[in-house]
Symmetry: C2
Subunit: 299 residues, 2 copies
Amino acid sequence: MLNFADRLLVTVEAQRSHVVVGLDPDYSLFPRQLRTLSPNEAGDPVALAERFEVFLRGILEAVAGIAVAVKPQLAYFEALGAPGYRLYEQMVAEAQDRGLLVIADAKRGDIGSTAEAYARAHLDVAGADAVTVNPWFGTDGVEPFLRRAREAGRGLFVLVKTSNPGSAEIQDLSLGDGAPVYEHVARLVDTWGAGAVGECGYSSVGAVVGATHPAQAAALRAAHPGVLFLVPGYGAQGAGAAQLSGVFDSNGTGAVVSSSRAILYAHRSRGGDWQAAARDEAEDMRRALWASARGGGES
Amino acid sequence: MLNFADRLLVTVEAQRSHVVVGLDPDYSLFPRQLRTLSPNEAGDPVALAERFEVFLRGILEAVAGIAVAVKPQLAYFEALGAPGYRLYEQMVAEAQDRGLLVIADAKRGDIGSTAEAYARAHLDVAGADAVTVNPWFGTDGVEPFLRRAREAGRGLFVLVKTSNPGSAEIQDLSLGDGAPVYEHVARLVDTWGAGAVGECGYSSVGAVVGATHPAQAAALRAAHPGVLFLVPGYGAQGAGAAQLSGVFDSNGTGAVVSSSRAILYAHRSRGGDWQAAARDEAEDMRRALWASARGGGES
């Protein structure tokens, strides 16, 4: 069985793409032709979930073959309650049917017995290929996810340095030895991944490292060569391809980069057909990242 | 509108109880008469969710009037997928119908726009009275929950020092000034709660502080007098009432204590009717905590 890192990086090479599309459905930003619910219907989770489904299915169709993975953001599904949760499970399956890997952006974390239930929920029941995990609980909170990663060829991405401004408040605190807290977490990630290294040299225990902190990301890249990066914050959050060259290794691999709104709602800036706009935006991102990762070469 | 802290602490006084019952449904531990699913059915989320419903409804009936709140642990509901998520929403409503407050143990945390969706999901759509929140993202990840707390009289409990052994790995790290990371987070909680202090003197921004660390909990209690504590780890995780006197203030209030397995599955140790066993276990816990909080006095 191929491990998750191998599956992901083989796809990166095959598609010449580091693109992950975040699925953050927001009805108010949908294309006009999908925003036809009456005010009453727009407050009904079932009606909204049906629109989410049409929209997300269109996005999957648009970005398949360009993106290597999609990253459903659980919060936007949970905000519709049970109908949203069902849609999340359905979208995992439909994305995989289209050849896209699925990273469940759940950011779960809890004590061991509970983390076990979360690992089952997202990696078994929903069937995602990988899940994002919050490190706050330490090793016993991460262990159940590690077990599923090893046993079932799944992956996890630990929140090492997140893309938001407030991330500095805890993650950047200086420890007694002068290192920031996030660097300590990155060292834990090295340890957690030691038993899950694939043929590609990367482990299935990756790290979330925000695109909005390019210098810190490059330093982390250099210090933790076996750790796969999931890099959010591209596009709408402000980071571009040029400043991201440091998240890739010298072979131009070892990281995937995610963008949500800039792709999903590309029709708002690019105009025209919304699916074509999403596809064009994803393709532009693919080319820009490929050039950045491979030192400005062939795209 | 009463704020969450006021609502909770008024109930504590009225019921002479600091007891919170964690809802961690685990089919394998259910009473024998509910464990009658065939192996096929036991793998079916819908069939399992129906058994969860019968069991949890029985628990709500048993502990109403003794516990002040229940704490559904989202992981165990998510592990059944959409049918489990629907049951979570249903149990929130049924618990409130029985006069129990509901603390959604979701431990969510994300960047601002996403945290907004999580706050909506749990405090509005599911309708819980409070939610547990992971502090890793810093202020902008907590702000949307704070807003709901202020606007709608809801509460949050920030994971300051969790009950599991691995909590030491990140939460106990020493910062440059010698303080542990969790103490820094407790100071952030003071700040976050400053605008949400109720008539009781406590804010609706509380802290999760594990019962398994009584000395650290007592130190936090002394240093953060306006912060309501939610104290997990009582019972099955090993902490007893005697060692918990330090989590209460000098009036014997300011904290609620949660127990999950020891109450839910009390029939396994106490025998007899499972609802009666849960009720007796909760009542024993109530008396022991009341005595501990009020200095061994009247129960």
